[in-house]
């Protein structure tokens, strides 16, 4: 059984900008505890849809409710602090790995929390990253290592809702398995965008995001059947 506690709800949402809308009339309800994946062709808008839930892309018409409250600019802070965002291809630059991991702890959001090197090392073990990388610089890391580093950084915030954009795209099978078994084991509510079957097959709910598709609203209670496919309108 899944708890039908509504987390995010889009009603007739238009995403992008009025002059160039990326998605039109999106109806979607996401419940706490779900592991949902937006899939579909590249450029179809799945990444934008994901970002729009964090205010990273504008929702210029329609309604977005988060935990039952209508979202406006003032609520963005709360939303961004509630969810852990994992970017698609983390561009990190040349900074030291520990600096990259520590930066979120210097933000106001994390006041009171401090960076724990041991915790970072534990996460590194869990995702098959060598501990020696902690004293390396980010530009020496491979694509797969950077991707896992971004996941570690997001999880170190301690948040239980994860928004992941193509979290396994640069990973080999072994690393992918480790990420899947950590993120999709039920501990986290996961909202993701992916076209990787190794990830999609383990998500409890699949939503197709593709040009020309008509939106189909679903209510939370129906969405727990594994592998169920829905369409989101464009």
């Amino acid at each position: 059984m899944c708890e039908p506690v509504m987390l995010c709800q889009l009603k007739g949402a238009f995403i992008g900008s009025a002059s160039t809308p990326l998605l039109s009339g999106v109806d979607l309800t996401i419940a706490t505890g779900e592991s949902l994946v937006f899939h579909g062709p590249s450029g179809g808008g799945k990444s934008s849809l994901l970002k729009s839930l964090l205010g990273g892309v504008h929702i210029f018409r329609g309604e977005y409710r988060f935990r039952g409250q209508s979202v406006d600019v003032r609520m963005l802070k709360e939303i961004r602090q509630a969810m852990a965002y994992i970017p698609q291809q983390p561009e990190i630059g040349k900074e030291a790995v520990t600096d990259y991991l520590q930066r979120p702890f210097s933000w106001k959001v994390s006041s009171g929390k401090s960076f724990n090197q041991r915790e970072a090392a534990d996460w590194f073990d869990r995702f098959g990253l060598e501990n020696a990388l902690l004293s390396s610089s980010c530009d020496r890391l491979s694509g797969g290592q950077r991707q896992r580093l971004a996941i570690v950084r997001a999880l170190m915030t301690g948040r239980k809702i994860v928004l992941a954009d193509e979290p396994t795209s640069a990973l080999d099978d072994e690393a992918c398995q480790k990420v899947v078994s950590t993120l999709l084991a039920g501990e986290f509510t996961v909202i993701s965008a992916s076209h990787d079957p190794r990830w999609m097959n383990h998500c409890s709910r699949r939503v197709l995001v593709a040009a020309g598709q008509v939106g189909e609203g679903q209510n939370g209670a129906d969405n727990c059947k594994a592998g169920r496919d829905e369409k989101v309108g464009v």
Binding site: K51, G55, V57, P90, E91, G93, E95, K108, V109
Partner: protein
């Protein structure tokens, strides 16, 4: 003509020195650069000639309002040049940049007037050349800071989004970009301060010495100018970048891309 002075006839003859560089460029097949150099020299001559006449007029008048008007013209021209070269939309950031320049140059100029104590305080002979020195140096600093900052945010937008969407405030997410841009824009002046007098003799000091001033007096002026230049560069650059963020990013913390045009190099 006193000893060491340059007359108009001598100056016109000195234009002949250009034959050498022009011949070299021509020989290397850089026809466009030859054309560019000729046009550049012509413009420089015309502009400096006109400004010489205008400055003489300003000096004769020595009027507060005329000076203020001329200062505003200088700041506006500098501002337009900065925004064009940095590839930033004038429609969005003109006033922010104008304010930053006025504040950065104004504060330092005020300090300089307190030190020099000209009589009257707005005496054109001091006010206009000092403002010109400050503005000229703020020009490069501000072009660099805006160009670096906005092109870096544009190129590494996903990195910025990664921080912003993870809960950083707008300024927290932009902090690495702000630091990099300021570092790039201000390290040349730091390098200049470090080597000044050893590697290069500053133009103003050289001009003063050639004009007959005592070296010690020229050095004192030069030190004051360098302190002023460094201070106004930092103030202008920091104000410009911090204030522009309020205009260029919306309530969501997202960059309004229409702020960025392509920079002119």
């Amino acid at each position: 003509m006193n000893e060491g002075g340059v007359g108009l006839i001598q100056l016109s003859l000195f234009y002949g020195i250009l034959i050498l560089p022009l011949a070299l460029l021509w020989w290397l097949g850089l026809r466009q650069l030859v054309h560019g150099l000729i046009v550049g020299v012509a413009r420089m001559t015309l502009q400096l000639g006109l400004i010489g006449i205008y400055l003489k007029f300003l000096f004769d008048q020595d009027s507060l309002w005329l000076n203020v008007f001329w200062l505003l013209v200088m700041v506006t021209v500098a501002n337009l040049h900065i925004l064009t070269r940095a590839g930033i939309s004038k429609r969005h950031l003109f006033w922010v940049s104008q304010f930053s320049l006025l504040a950065g140059v104004g504060i330092v100029l005020f300090g300089m007037i307190l030190v020099v104590q000209p009589e009257p305080w707005y005496q054109t002979r001091y006010l206009i050349p000092l403002a010109g020195m400050l503005l000229g140096n703020c020009l490069t600093g501000n072009i660099l800071v805006l160009e670096r900052f906005y092109s870096a945010v544009g190129e590494r937008y996903e990195q910025f989004m990664g921080d912003l969407l993870l809960g950083a405030s707008l300024y927290e997410a932009l902090q690495p970009f702000i630091r990099n841009a300021l570092q790039a824009a201000l390290s040349p002046i730091v390098a200049t301060l470090t080597t000044l007098g050893v590697v290069a003799l500053p133009g103003m000091m050289t001009g003063q010495i050639l004009g007959g001033a005592e070296p010690v007096e020229a050095v004192i002026y030069q030190i004051m100018i360098m302190l002023g230049i460094a201070s106004s560069m930092v103030i202008c650059a920091v104000l410009n970048i911090v204030l522009s963020i309020r205009i260029a990013f919306d309530g969501y913390g997202l960059l309004n891309r229409s702020v960025m045009l392509s920079p002119e190099r």
